[in-house]
């Protein structure tokens, strides 16, 4: 079920109403049933994977807790990791690895005839797999007591607001909230609804309006000239931010309406002044996951410099491949790894250059320059993220620099999207890019409107823009595919 669908518009108020009518002891059951319903509306059969993941990690965590020695604890942990990563690997990476082996075999003149499998990637598998793995690892590390109540644990795995595209919530943050008693709190409900409205606005008005333009440009990069390709790359950056952070806003808002608090997943990533800072503002829950469960166990930065760089590259490689099974995602991840390593390697030189050039004397302008450079570097990396193949990405890279004003692809673009619709989309998308963090502060309640009437006007205008300028037709969220 999509957040931007009629089904959800009926489903959610019903769940909220029943949730607050039920006695506290039965609420977990309602939310569990609702979460399965939510997931099965997409493809009922794949709920089996959720059940399996739940059963495996519930058993493993309790097994670890009861195990008498380290060997026994380790055995349970491995069982969980093998099953979770096995399922993820099979559904997400089988065809990619198979294709790679086929190509390599072809180069080596070896006959390799294992066919690809007709697999549909289970929606949100990367998210819930990582969430359940973090739970079992935390129990193994002794940071967490295992949850004895199977129903509540199943709800932790499947909690519908964040099931298919995060935030990847940690058990200590969410599980205790299922036990806590809560009543119907007007203010909390209004806060949640405002957050949902903001998320829907970002998704349906900004991201989904950018989508047809981006699809046209990335769909046939060879047909477009430099200026249009640049436009496509910039718009995709705005699209993916609004799409993904919009989903997170709806997830956080809907959980808030129900009385739960979910961690923030974005903090104005477009304002990051370095790639390192970008990753502390973008998809925060996943960045934290990679930090806690891969980067730090590898040694983090408490190792020699070469090993530190290696650790960074490994983490970004895995982050790239987490997004999708394809060489474009591998390059995307490695590119970010390279950005990080290069920034660290040249840090001293930049400091000297800034002092020599006088940039340190104009800190605000210097900061603005760094923000712009970071935004462009991230936008550049997203060519690989969005391109349909590595070949397409390189076609784009080749043409990106041709700033002749031939506008060769313009007729094709206008055939796909009308010029005035493009104009409206550009105005909405770029104004949003610059105003996002100001407006979001009001939505999150970090800033208050001077008068209640302004708040009404702001949210009324958001709703109006949503209804009038939204691109409807139930466009799926980009991160659902991961």
């Amino acid at each position: 079920m999509l957040f931007n669908s009629l089904e959800f518009a009926i489903f959610f108020p019903l769940v909220v109403a029943i949730h607050f009518l039920l006695p506290h002891r039965l609420r977990w059951l309602l939310l569990l049933v609702a979460s399965y319903w939510f997931y099965m509306a997409w493809k009922a059969e794949y709920a089996v994977l959720l059940l399996l993941s739940t059963a495996v990690d519930y058993t493993a965590a309790n097994g670890i807790h009861k195990a008498k020695d380290q060997r026994g604890r380790k055995r349970w942990l491995w069982m969980s990791l093998v099953v979770n990563l096995g399922l993820l690997g099979f559904f997400k990476y089988f065809n990619f690895l198979n294709d790679t082996f086929r190509t390599l075999s072809g180069w080596g003149g070896i006959d390799y005839s294992i066919p690809d499998m007709d697999l549909l990637l289970p929606m949100g598998i990367s998210f819930y797999t990582f969430q359940t793995m973090s739970y079992t690892i935390d129990v193994y590390r002794g940071h967490l007591q295992p949850e004895r109540h199977l129903g509540r644990f199943a709800l932790f795995v499947t909690f519908f607001p964040q099931l298919v595209a995060g935030p990847v919530v940690r058990a200590p943050d969410l599980l205790p909230q299922f036990i806590q008693r809560m009543g119907f709190d007007q203010q909390r409900v209004v806060e949640g609804l405002k957050r949902m409205l903001w998320g829907l606005f970002k998704k349906v008005v900004i991201a989904d309006r950018c989508a047809p333009i981006v699809d046209e440009i990335f769909g046939d990069p060879a047909a477009h000239d430099g200026p249009l390709l640049v436009l496509g790359v910039l718009l995709f950056s705005i699209q993916i931010y609004c799409d993904f952070s919009g989903y997170s806003d709806i997830a956080i808002g809907s959980a808030r309406v129900l009385g739960f608090r979910i961690m923030e997943n974005f903090r104005a990533p477009q304002l990051a002044a370095s790639i390192g800072e970008f990753w502390s503002r973008w998809h925060i829950s996943m960045s934290a996951w990679f930090r806690d469960y891969i980067y730090i166990p590898l040694g983090g930065n408490r190792v020699n410099t070469e090993r530190w760089y290696f650790n960074l590259v490994v983490v970004f490689f895995l982050s790239g491949i987490w997004h999708g099974a394809g060489w474009t995602f591998v390059i995307y991840g490695l590119l970010h790894g390279a950005y990080m390593v290069l920034a660290l390697m040249t840090k001293r030189h930049w400091r000297r250059f800034n002092a020599w050039s006088g940039l340190v004397r104009i800190p605000r302008r210097h900061h603005a320059m760094l923000v712009l450079v970071t935004f462009l570097l991230v936008a550049f990396s997203r060519i690989f993220f969005r391109a349909e193949s590595v070949q397409d990405a390189f076609v784009m890279l080749g043409s990106l620099w041709h700033f002749k004003l031939a506008w060769g692809g313009l007729p094709a673009l206008f055939a796909a999207v009308k010029p005035w619709e493009i104009a409206i989309t550009l105005v909405l998308a770029f104004s949003h890019l610059f105003l996002d963090h100001h407006l979001e502060a009001f939505v999150k309640g970090e800033r208050r409107f001077g008068h209640r009437a302004y708040s009404y006007l702001f949210h009324g205008s958001l709703l109006l823009l949503l209804v009038l300028f939204g691109n409807y037709g139930e466009v799926a969220f980009i991160y659902f595919q991961f």
């Binding site: 009629l6 409206i424 009404y456 006007l457 109006l464 409807y472 037709g473």
Partner: protein, 321 residues
């Protein structure tokens, strides 16, 4: 408290919404209301759809009524039928799908005003969601119920926007008229398809379950109302995708089996030329129509379907009362 705030908020929103449509439909840019610049769904009032549905009078009986996409209103020339003594009215519209046909049929046609219903069917008729046609029809048809049902079929806020635009434009004259429109719903096109026109071959036919359901409802509704129904596929260019059409025709034959509806597949029945008889990748031009219509009438006669429209000498065609 929450309820009061909610009502206040919704009142404010409704006020802004009404204001938007009031301004958008009255303030004009180069002679057209600015609202038409704001999105694809805001279809201009006017054109052949407006002319067709305002010319049609359900109180008058027609031997044949045609429904369907642009293939219908560009392929079934009432003048050519009239030469054979058949009175035909064409109610096709751009991108019309089974859903649109279903609601139009439900509102407009009965055994009293329709001798035979021809529904022109092509792949897109069952594969597309009907948005294009819905946007056009909601702005242009005089029937309120059908317009509301079509708009609501979108199941999202576009439905409200389409209806708000329809009602805000109420009483305003159409913005434009089609130059190709002749009469009785028909649009004449005489241009030939370009020689270098590419035909995409996918070999696939993927009907939408909702549209198939609407087609079943059309068949059932015609049976219930006693309207003889024929589904017709008009000729396709020789270079177009034969496999795709084969799958489509097979599907339709399966669908009508055991019902009172008939399916006439004339897609490849005539020897036509891609350029001389077609205006583009799928529409017949006038030369093509002149080859197709006599063949269709022969085929209807051969299948015994010409009976309801056979004019008795001297019979006046007019109001049913």
């Amino acid at each position: 408290m929450l309820l009061r705030k909610g009502i206040l908020f919704m009142l404010l929103f409704t006020g802004l919404y009404v204001l938007f449509f009031a301004v958008g439909t009255r303030v004009r840019l180069n002679g057209t209301p600015i609202i038409y610049r704001l999105g694809n769904v805001y279809h201009w009032k006017g054109g052949d759809a407006w002319q067709r549905y305002h010319e049609y009078d359900p109180q008058l009986r027609h031997d044949v009524v045609v429904l369907g996409s642009s293939h219908a209103y560009r392929g079934y020339d009432p003048e050519l039928f009239a030469r054979q003594g058949i009175d035909l009215f064409n109610l096709g519209s751009s991108g019309q799908t089974a859903m649109n046909t279903h609601y139009l049929l439900d509102d407009l046609l009965s055994a009293e005003n329709t001798g035979l219903l021809i529904v022109e069917v092509s792949k897109a008729y069952l594969e597309s969601d009907g948005l294009e046609s819905t946007c056009e029809l909601v702005q242009n048809i005089p029937m309120e119920r059908a317009a509301v049902r079509m708009a609501l079929s979108l199941r999202d806020p576009r439905a409200a926007n389409l209806l708000a635009l329809r009602w805000a434009m109420h009483g305003q004259e159409p913005i434009y008229r089609s130059e190709n429109y002749t009469a009785k719903g028909y649009c004449r096109h005489t241009t030939n398809a370009p020689a270098d026109l590419e035909h995409r071959h996918t070999g696939r036919f993927d009907p939408l379950p909702d549209q198939v359901e609407h087609l079943r409802s059309i068949i059932a509704l015609c049976a219930e109302r006693g309207i003889p129904l024929v589904l017709v596929s008009h000729p396709i260019p020789p270079r177009s995708d034969p496999e795709r059409h084969r799958l489509f025709a097979e599907f339709l034959r399966g669908l009508v089996a055991g019902t009172e509806a008939r399916y006439l597949d004339l897609a490849t029945a005539l020897e036509l030329d891609d350029q001389q008889h077609f205006a583009d990748h799928s529409h017949l031009n006038q030369a093509g129509v002149e080859r197709f219509v006599p063949a269709l009438i022969d085929s209807l006669t051969a299948h015994g379907l010409a009976h309801p429209m056979a004019p008795a000498p001297g019979t006046a065609i007019g109001p049913t009362e």
